[in-house]
């Protein structure tokens, strides 16, 4: 039986979806946020946002858009975790946060490669720049620099030394850096990896610049680790349905993308939004803002919020309670996942379909 609550009190599903629809109809600037859902849920959510003139944001958009900003302002060379696992004989990890972003990283990437000319694995050289107080590094990894705050300067000097330009002093010895330069230039297929959640866009751009420079003479690529909660999958849906990534508003007659203006936290904290549809199906992720906006939550039954949502509809986890299509990090694209513990729990897509059925007849027009 599907659980639902209105103002904290148990309610029938149909009553709850009707109440949610009334809230959205009455809202002057609705926001669809969280967006931790599978492809079907994302398609339904974006279609709903277009219909009611809402803004859309994903809980991990900050990190995702840093990588996207680097690509759409400077360009990027990219590869997948599986290609890295199989082929990269040299790995350059940049900054902290990689193991937090991908707990399996040591298992997949610190051993030998899987593919080589003679079809046997070769040893992989792993370098980690400025990991901070990192747990998970092991003796296969050469750490260069420690404090993560040093990373931008270290990268700048590294890039210059790769190109043979003069450099000033930095916290890491020139010798060590030149050894690294030698290793990078003799890589047969090198990969630089990072987690955008832990770095800023300029640092990421510098790392991507190093990758691009190394391709003058050898093969090197970049691996941005995918943020959680199907952020990459939702990004793909936003792009093909609207032409834009998340942080886009549909309140005007056209989709308006602005990473500052349509950030969920800002919209909530400024009071610009008066109703939030919070979606978090993979886990009970807490919204990352200060404030108590009026909320409709599509989240696990045990999700807790500082203030009771006006409407809370329990949804199942994609890939667990129901079949899912989502971004598969290993191969870097969308994949079909069969439910591991199939249940009667409602999917986000079905919840939204029920809400839409109760919306007032006319789609928004300006």
């Amino acid at each position: 039986m599907v659980q639902a609550w209105i103002d904290g009190m148990p309610a029938a599903l149909s009553t709850a979806t009707a109440a949610a629809a009334r809230l959205l109809d009455a809202s002057r600037q609705p926001l669809v946020a969280g967006l931790g859902t599978d492809i079907a849920g994302a398609r339904a959510a974006v279609a709903l946002a277009q219909r009611i003139g809402a803004c859309v944001d994903h809980m991990n958009a900050d990190a995702l858009l840093r990588d996207l900003d680097v690509m759409r302002e400077a360009g990027a060379m990219l590869t997948t975790p599986n290609e890295t696992r199989m082929r990269a004989d040299t790995l350059l990890l940049g900054g902290p946060g990689l193991i937090e972003a991908w707990s399996e990283l040591p298992r997949h990437l610190f051993g030998p490669t899987s593919v080589a000319d003679d079809r046997r694995g070769t040893e992989r050289r792993v370098f980690w720049l400025c990991p901070g107080r990192q747990t998970g590094a092991d003796d296969k990894v050469t750490v260069i620099g420690r404090d993560s705050g040093e990373l931008p300067a270290v990268l700048a000097v590294l890039r210059a030394r790769i190109k043979g330009h003069p450099t000033g002093e930095v916290s890491v010895s020139v010798q060590l850096l030149d050894e690294l330069v030698g290793a990078l230039k003799t890589a047969r297929f090198g990969v630089a990896a990072w987690s955008a959640a832990a770095l800023d866009a300029l640092t990421i751009e510098m790392l991507c610049g190093i990758v691009n420079d190394l391709n003058a003479t050898t093969r090197f690529s970049g691996l941005p680790l995918a943020p959680s909660d199907n952020a990459m999958g939702v990004l793909q849906v936003c792009a093909w349905m609207t032409g834009f990534p998340m942080r886009t508003g549909f309140g005007r007659a056209y989709p308006d993308h602005d990473r500052w203006q349509y950030g969920a936290a800002r919209l909530v904290e400024s009071g610009e939004t008066d109703c939030v549809l919070w979606i978090s199906a993979y886990r009970a992720a807490p919204p990352q803002w200060h404030g108590d906006p009026q909320m409709i939550a599509l989240a696990p039954a045990d999700a807790r919020f500082p203030r009771s949502p006006r409407v809370h509809i329990a949804v199942g986890a994609p890939g667990r309670d129901h079949d899912s299509i989502e971004h598969c990090a290993m191969i870097g694209t969308l994949a079909a996942v069969t439910a591991t513990h199939r249940s009667e729990a409602l999917s986000v897509a079905d919840a939204i379909t029920s809400i839409v059925a109760h919306l007032s007849a006319e789609p928004l027009s300006c």
């Binding site: 360009g75 590869t79 694209t333």
Partner: protein, 544 residues
């Protein structure tokens, strides 16, 4: 519902018709003329041109690459909706929904997405499912994948290759097989920077030629109607004509389709070492009756190149306009997205434009030359009406030529070509021939039994205006466009072939995926339920 389109000029080259008459439709199909019957709905087409719905055999409309192009270039779409064409790509069909509407407005009813890497098939089909009105299909890309290259290196049987190709078609739900710079992407991962037909992929010791021939034979033996669809090596460089000619020769009399031949139409003559070789190419195509080509016409303006020829795109990235790009060293082919602006004042771009025109005009048989811009690589598909107008009027071409750099025109034969396409030839090239090339017997013509995909145009002297906004378009017998505006946006289906294969290959692929990826091969398949639309696929019969 019995529907009648009254009194139009029916141009149906597949059935040898160019005459005034009626088209009758019922239950989604064209039916014989109903003498004495009363139609439930009647449409006046007197003075208008009636053709089957057009078919685009090569247009990048869905998938990771197309979507990444959207993400790379948000600035080309910012701004208010009723913005005049001042924004680059503002009319190019950016979100999936617009693509279907814009194609249908021009009378197109079936479009083929020609470059889907097997792992990205699910993504491509999800995007295609959100493109309204038109029917669609994908071509699955092989030729840089470890499994195939391993089969060739291991000198495994032709049967094994056939089964693998059949498995790929089934898993990806595609209509045919595409090969893109065979071996080039794999070689690039090993630091090759050039890759020609007889170059060898280092880890495998197989040549590009071997890969192409192996796939060509497998596709033919399986009875897949569409021949192997080939994106040759050396795209876009001076002297690329030699590669195209060598590939044509390599076809050895078996059917072969060469994609966007315009990008291979360059010789090395003249002061800049860059010239048109279109005349040589056209002669070779005219002589090789087993070969079909699509043009990949360039038109001036801002666009973005989207391609799985990662080696080519990597090298082209320094000419990106604007200066940014995405290069993916993915599984197998990879991908590259590089924005580009074709400028009419640029010598090279002007030659490219002329080469495409020359190919259209010098290849004699409209059943073997296909109408494409390799959207968006040569130009957005929304330029099709202008291209049709150019093909139908030597005066219009002369006006264009007069505005282009004279030294560029001097290294082509275009100014001297007087040929003008007739409506019958346009209809053959954009309807009858594509249907035949793809094995789609139920479309591309207006005979009884065909699906009722029909386009009705004003017979306007301004042919660009005529083809830009169809007066009426019917999809499966239902009216979908009136005066260039969609009247309803139901969704079409994706066409696929599923040739027979030995189940042993399924078991082998399962084991291969476990070993290589540590993942189930179910991951890459496209289940029916994933698409979220009723009956999203339609099976097209193989030849055997």
């Amino acid at each position: 519902m019995l529907t009648r389109i009254v009194g139009g000029r029916i141009i149906d080259p597949a059935n040898g018709r160019d005459e005034i008459g009626d088209i009758w439709m019922n239950d989604g199909r064209i039916v014989e003329a109903q003498v004495g019957a009363q139609a439930d709905a009647s449409y006046d087409a007197i003075g208008k041109i009636v053709m089957a719905g057009a078919i685009d055999i090569h247009s990048h409309i869905a998938g990771w690459s197309v979507n990444t192009a959207r993400l790379l270039l948000p600035e080309f779409r910012l701004g208010s909706a009723p913005r005049p064409g001042a924004t680059p790509l503002s009319s190019a069909g950016w979100p999936a929904f617009e693509i279907g509407c814009l194609y249908a407005a021009m009378g197109f009813t079936t479009v083929i997405e020609p470059a889907v890497s097997p792992h990205y098939a699910l993504h491509a089909h999800l995007e295609l499912a959100d493109i309204p009105i038109i029917d669609k299909a994908t071509l699955a890309v092989l030729g840089n994948d470890d499994f195939l290259l391993g089969l060739i290196r291991g000198k495994e049987s032709a049967t094994a290759v056939r089964d693998y190709v059949a498995w790929t078609l089934a898993a990806t739900r595609s209509l045919g097989i595409k090969v893109i710079n065979a071996g080039g992407s794999a070689a690039f991962k090993e630091n090759a920077r050039e890759f020609s037909l007889d170059d060898v992929v280092p880890s495998y010791g197989v040549s590009s030629r071997e890969i192409v021939k192996t796939l060509q034979r497998a596709v033919a033996d399986l009875g897949v109607p569409h021949p192997l669809h080939v994106h040759c090596n050396n795209l876009g460089i001076a002297g690329s004509a030699d590669t195209a000619l060598a590939t044509i020769a390599a076809a050895d009399g078996l059917p072969l389709h060469l994609a966007h031949l315009q990008f291979y139409g360059y010789g090395r003559e003249g002061g800049r070492g860059f010239s048109s070789a279109a005349a040589r190419l056209a002669e070779a195509v005219n002589a090789a009756k087993n070969v079909t080509i699509d043009v990949g016409q360039v038109m001036f303006g801002q666009t973005v190149t989207v391609s799985l020829d990662v080696l080519r795109q990597f090298k082209a990235r320094n000419q990106a306009r604007p200066r940014k790009w995405a290069i993916l060293d993915g599984d197998a082919n990879g991908a590259g997205i590089v924005p580009y602006d074709y400028r009419s004042a640029d010598f090279y771009n002007a030659v490219q434009w002329a080469v495409g025109m020359e190919l259209f005009l010098l290849i004699d048989d409209p059943w073997r030359v296909f109408f494409t811009t390799d959207h968006p690589n040569g130009a957005p598909f929304t330029t099709y009406p202008e291209i049709m107008a150019l093909l139908m009027s030597r005066d219009l071409r002369a006006q264009w030529v007069a505005t282009l750099p004279a030294d560029a025109m001097a290294v082509t034969t275009l100014p001297a070509i007087g040929r003008e396409y007739s409506l019958l030839e346009i209809a053959a090239m954009t309807r009858a021939a594509p249907a035949r090339l793809l094995g789609l017997r139920d479309r591309g013509h207006l005979g009884a039994g065909a699906i009722a995909d029909v386009a009705v145009y004003e017979d306007a002297p301004d042919r660009a205006k005529m083809f830009r906004s169809a007066a009426l378009v019917f999809k499966n017998g239902a009216l979908v466009v009136r005066d260039g505006i969609p009247t309803q946006t139901d969704f079409g289906c994706a066409l696929e072939v599923q040739p027979e294969r030995d189940c042993a290959m399924d078991r082998r692929m399962k084991a291969y995926y476990e070993e290589r990826y540590g993942l189930s091969d179910d991951l890459i398949k496209v289940p029916d339920h994933a698409i979220g639309r009723p009956e999203p696929f339609e099976l097209v019969p193989c030849k055997r």
